[in-house]
């Protein structure tokens, strides 16, 4: 018995709701069971179906874009088991537990740590220029890779079962994550320069002053590395600028009253 294509498509759509009942105890566990259920229904019935369902309702946590690959592989393993082709070395449940954490680490580094700042940096170039398409640019730039992962990896997972791990290894995803992060740092450097340059031009100040921005930036980075909260950094920076602004305005006023230009 194989799971029909239509059911697999249905499971794929259900995976978009994976985290609907996210909780601190089983994290994505209920969502994973919810996603797999249409497939399990095709393979089992009665008490057996309930027993298998109980197995999948437990703790589960991986990256949301890599969950389809785990789901695909688990469906394949369940399909084999239902057909009597049992792998003695690895159960579908063990496989799920085995790959969830490494996939989560890969996904977190690649998508949250790398791709998101990269896409945001690119979109902000347009947004700073006042181009209203910037949000669309962000959504399109960001979603190409996750959509590819969600679809292709799901299909691969279902086709290859346990061997889908080799697919991940072959694509060297941890290396992708590092390169994406490096690209994000470069884009953010360019974005900072662009914002500072535009600001100085708007205020008719000499452009070379912008290079001085690196001093407070480096200081802020070092402070952030010490674990200071963003909220605190925001209020310290905004507070200092606010006071400097008032001080500067007073200075200009005083100098004008003394006849100094």
């Amino acid at each position: 018995m194989t799971i029909p294509r239509k059911t697999r498509l249905y499971i794929w759509f259900r995976l978009l709701l994976l985290q609907a009942s996210w909780n601190f105890e089983r994290l994505q566990g209920i969502g994973f069971f919810y996603s797999l259920l249409p497939g399990l229904r095709k393979l089992y019935s009665g008490e057996k179906l309930l027993a298998v369902s109980r197995k999948y309702v437990g703790y589960f946590n991986t990256h949301v874009y890599l969950a389809p690959m785990v789901a695909g592989a688990v469906l394949k393993l369940e399909e084999d088991r239902a057909a009597g082709v049992v792998d003695q070395t690895l159960d579908a449940d063990d496989f799920k537990e085995m790959v969830a954490a490494p996939y989560a680490a890969i996904g977190d580094a690649l998508f949250w740590g790398g791709l998101r700042p990269l896409a945001a940096g690119i979109a902000l170039f347009f947004a700073v220029k006042g181009i209203l398409w910037a949000p669309l640019i962000f959504v399109l730039t960001y979603n190409i890779l996750p959509t590819w992962f969600r679809t292709v990896f799901f299909v691969r997972g279902y086709r290859q079962g346990i061997k889908s791990v080799e697919f991940i290894q072959k694509h060297r995803l941890p290396d992708w994550a590092i390169h994406t992060k490096e690209a994000a740092v470069v884009v953010l450097g360019g974005l900072s320069a662009f914002m500072v340059f535009s600001q100085l031009n708007q205020l008719h100040l000499p452009s070379w002053l912008g290079l001085l921005t690196l001093i407070p930036m480096v200081m802020l980075v070092l402070v952030a590395r010490k674990g200071f909260s963003t909220l605190l950094l925001v209020f310290i920076t905004v507070g200092s600028m606010f006071l400097l602004g008032i001080f500067w305005a007073d200075m200009v006023y005083l100098m004008a009253s003394w006849g100094i230009k």
Binding site: Q19, A20, S21, W22, N23, F24, E25, L27, I30, F33, Y34, L37, R41, L50, R54, V57, N61, Y65, W112, G113, R116, L124, V128, G130, L132, P135, F138, V139, Y142, N143, P146, K181, V186, L188, G189, G190, S192, A193, F194, M195, V196, Q202, L203, S207, L211, T213, L214, M217, V221, L222, A224, R225, T230, L233, V234, M241, F242, G245, I246, A249
Partner: protein, 229 residues
């Protein structure tokens, strides 16, 4: 005003769900959510400016494992709605009002983290219900419990939106006459500083060897290119 608040609430719900519970196509990011809500309220540039300032602030806080990052989605949406409503009520415009609304919304948005935390805590109750549904042999009941989780995330999103917005509606009219003039001296610099602080936090937490060197090199190269061209 009621219509503006309702449009904001609807979009805060949709974007709030995208944040964790469904899809994750990133319409919940401030750079998308803020211009989107502002576009529906007829002033997309207000949202775009707020989106630029908020987008990078908490981008370094990753939703890894059980970690709950601050709710920048609701901060961006609520401060956009607040800025548009206050602009009409106080007959004011310009970056000063935007900044004031945002600076009021940022600390209020911290509440969102607690709401989000509570929603996830509340969803723990669903586990028992799912288990007992399975014991009864009701798979449909177990499926339904999963979808019930959406309601707690929806309430968390709307709750944060309401707190930020109504808090802002109470605070901003008081502060505006006091801070309008002083803010005008530094508003342009603060607008620049907010994304730069976000970038600094990203650089401080990103796991890339020599991130700071790479950043400085890229900054100088881009700056010199713009200077020369």
């Amino acid at each position: 005003m009621v219509l503006s608040l309702s449009i904001g609430a609807l979009l805060s719900l949709i974007c709030g769900l995208d944040r964790v519970a469904i899809l994750q196509v990133m319409i919940s990011r401030p750079i998308v959510a803020a211009p989107l809500v502002a576009m529906f309220l007829g002033e997309p540039l207000v949202g775009l400016q707020i989106g630029v300032m908020v987008e990078l602030l908490w981008l370094a806080r990753l939703p890894v494992g059980a970690a709950v990052p601050p709710d920048d989605t609701q901060v961006a949406i609520a401060s956009s709605v607040l800025a548009i409503i206050m602009g009409k009520a106080l007959n004011a415009s310009g970056p000063e009002l935007l900044l004031l609304c945002l600076l009021v919304a940022i600390p209020l948005g911290k509440v969102g983290q607690y709401f989000d935390h509570y929603a996830r805590q509340y969803n723990v109750r669903l586990i028992k219900k799912v288990d007992s549904a399975l014991d009864r042999g009701s798979l449909l009941g177990a499926e339904f419990q999963h979808l019930r989780g959406l309601s707690s995330f929806s309430l968390a999103a709307i709750g944060t939106y309401a707190i930020v917005l109504f808090g802002g509606l109470l605070i901003v009219p008081f502060l505006w006459p006091l801070l309008q003039q002083p803010l005008s001296y530094s508003s342009a610099w603060i607008q620049l500083a907010l994304p730069l602080v976000g970038i600094a936090v990203i650089l401080g937490t990103i796991n890339v060897s020599r991130a700071l060197t790479l950043f400085c090199a890229s900054f100088c190269m881009a700056f010199l290119l713009m200077w020369l061209v």
